[in-house]
């Protein structure tokens, strides 16, 4: 009998799965490493427009916007597993709130942009409460519905929104550098001339910092638990509705602000293009390519994909859609965890929650 027991005991002990690779020594310092990289990158980005063509600055702006969209989408959809098709909806609402505030000359542009984010955040709280009681896929369908509903409302309410005619916004008037200007003066002119770019830079930085904070916090872990098994999470006392709504509201602020900045940048918005699903596609495809539910994934995905695809967007916008659609299919089938997860599986990167 005892030999049986010890045999089984041996079995139990050897039931241990293959030992996990230990974390590399630098892993706990990732937060600091990120900070250093961020500071350097931001400094470079601040300097960038002084030595770049307008085209390059616009491209950089788009990269920053995509980073903001993808990173914020990841809060609820990556970490929490609640795929949201609502980003396009918030982008559109943010665009309109910002554009209309400016069109009707109610506030300065910075206030308008911030208010756009507030508006979409509050909107998310309102619609989040009923929709996040639904389970994942049904929430996704509901958000599809909301996005379209927003578009319909904006188009129909043309006394306020100018409907299908669209809203024209004045483009930033360029200032010239005067002779004998100091370095500081020149810098201020540069910031003024590229204000949308700088605004987007701020947004992207905030998004990335927030991603790190959420990713390394209890909230992030709770979202991951919800993603893995919501019923179990709830049964263990995790206030799932509260967690989801928080993530949702936080995530909605960014497309709102990005939409407002984008409206200023482009100078013209109208419902069909601004609510177009392409904005959701951008956020989703870059985030999942980089790695859903990770901190770095959406950032990497956004940078890589945007740089690669802007060429395509210019020459053939429809091909862009084909590529992104195809990309989503490939990622879902072959690398559902995105690049980060792939690198982790290959042992190149550690299995750290800080990545």
């Amino acid at each position: 009998m005892s030999s049986q027991v010890s045999q089984i005991r041996n079995e139990v002990d050897s039931e241990q799965a293959s030992p996990t690779r230990p974390m590399p020594k630098w892993e706990p310092y990732l937060g600091w490493i990120y900070l250093v990289i961020l500071v350097i990158a931001v400094a470079a980005m601040i300097w960038f427009p002084s030595n770049a063509s307008a085209y390059s600055v616009t491209l950089a702006l788009i990269v920053l916007m995509t980073i903001s969209l993808a990173t914020s989408w990841n809060f609820l959809s990556g970490f929490g597993g609640y795929t949201s098709f609502g980003h396009a909806g918030f982008f559109g609402i943010g665009s309109y709130v910002g554009a209309l505030l400016l069109y009707y000359e109610r506030t300065g542009w910075i206030t308008a942009v911030i208010l756009s984010g507030v508006a979409t955040g509050v909107l998310a709280l309102i619609i989040g409460y009923p929709t996040l009681r639904l389970r994942g896929p049904y929430f996704a369908v509901a958000m599809l519905g909301f996005t379209e509903l927003f578009r319909v409302i904006v188009t129909s309410w043309d006394s306020l929104t100018l409907g299908g005619r669209g809203v024209f916004l004045p483009i930033v008037r360029f200032q010239q550098v005067e002779d004998g200007a100091t370095w500081w003066d020149r810098f201020q002119v540069q910031v003024h001339n590229n204000q949308n770019y700088y605004a987007m830079l701020v947004l992207a930085v905030v998004a990335m910092i927030l991603a790190y904070v959420i990713g390394t916090s209890r909230l992030g872990l709770e979202l991951l638990a919800i993603r893995d098994d919501e019923v179990a999470a709830q049964s263990m006392g995790i206030r799932v509705v509260r967690v989801k709504i928080t993530a949702f509201a936080l995530s909605a602020v960014f497309p709102g602000i990005a939409g407002a900045i984008n409206a200023r940048q482009v100078g013209f918005i109208e419902p069909l293009t601004i609510f177009a699903v392409i904005w959701s596609i951008r956020a989703i495809s870059t985030a999942i390519l980089g790695g859903q539910g990770t901190i770095l994934g959406p950032i990497l995905g956004a940078i890589v994909l945007t740089l690669v695809s802007e060429r395509v967007w210019e020459s053939d916008p429809n091909l862009y859609q084909v590529i992104f659609g195809g990309l989503i299919v490939i990622v879902v089938l072959f690398m559902p965890g995105g690049f980060i997860s792939l690198l982790q599986n290959w042992g190149v990167l550690p299995r750290s929650r800080r990545l």
Partner: protein
């Protein structure tokens, strides 16, 4: 009288909607996949009919079987190569996958055919018939009849035929069905193919009535969801009721307000129903 006419018009439209939604319903029932690409499948069917008419002068009724056949094959391929792989994964994988497919197909269509609206007009189907003083759009009426025939045929197939029963069994409990010897993989293949064909037929019918564009899929998918939640998932008859209600609701809204707002009816219904009954309709065993 006018309102009656509008309602009738809505009912006729509802028939086509029912056909579209039925396919989506079946696919979800059998494999728990929310096929976000269903609208694009319909769009492809519509374009086949358009081109058949435009290029080859074929009347829509003749190109209908063509479009059904083409999408039947495409559906088989898609299911075999792609959808089957996500069937046993969490629902979100299939959601993203079909979303990707939808985006891909729409992009291809936009590329090939541009975003311009196209329309097919076949002489015998233009204009109205006079039925008891009501003007009944010929194209809508014919579309309605065909849609009803196909939907009805599918219903009978599901109820009476052996394979139909296999499909229903798999919808109820795939594991048990498999244990009972049903080839669930084949059931899934056939269901997706059938669903695609049904979407294609609906598309061809829509091409008879409305102008089409590569973006039409996006509009119809919302309607389909509204219908399914309204009528109750898995319920064929429920979906018919939902579809007719939506058709009437939309047409009345367009009549009373404007077409833009009418587009919103489906979404409003979808959201109200989803939110009022929080346990979700799609909520059979999770």
């Amino acid at each position: 009288m006018d309102t009656l006419q509008v309602i009738l018009s809505g009912v006729l439209l509802g028939g086509v909607y029912a056909l579209f939604a039925a396919g989506l319903n079946m696919i979800f029932g059998v494999m728990r996949v929310i096929n976000l690409a269903h609208g694009e499948l319909m769009m492809l069917g519509a374009y086949i009919t358009f081109f058949a008419s435009d290029q080859a002068g074929l009347n829509p009724l003749v190109s209908l079987p063509l479009s059904a056949a083409a999408l039947l094959i495409l559906g088989l391929l898609l299911q075999f190569a792609l959808v089957e792989r996500v069937v046993n994964q969490p629902l979100l994988s299939s959601l993203l996958l079909t979303f990707g497919l939808s985006t891909l197909m729409m992009g291809v269509a936009l590329n090939l055919w541009t975003a311009n609206y196209r329309s097919t007009a076949w002489a015998p189907l233009t204009g109205n018939w006079d039925v008891f003083g009501l003007a009944v759009s010929r194209s809508r009426f014919v579309a309605f009849v065909i849609a009803l025939l196909v939907t009805g045929g599918t219903y009978l197939f599901l109820r009476r035929s052996t394979f139909g029963k296999a499909i229903r069994a798999t919808s109820q409990n795939a594991e048990v069905a498999q244990i009972c010897g049903i080839d669930v993989r084949r059931v899934r293949l056939v269901t997706f193919a059938m669903g695609s064909a049904m979407a294609a037929i609906a598309g061809s019918l829509i091409a008879m009535i409305f102008t089409i564009s590569p973006e039409m899929g996006r509009m119809f998918i919302g309607k389909a969801f509204a219908i399914i939640v309204l009528g109750g998932l898995g319920s064929f008859v429920g979906a018919l009721f939902g579809a007719l209600s939506l058709g009437v609701g939309e047409t009345l809204a367009a009549y009373w307000t404007n077409t833009q707002l009418a587009e919103g009816v489906a979404y409003v219904i979808l959201l109200i129903v989803l939110l009022v009954r929080p346990s979700g309709f799609f909520g059979r065993a999770e």
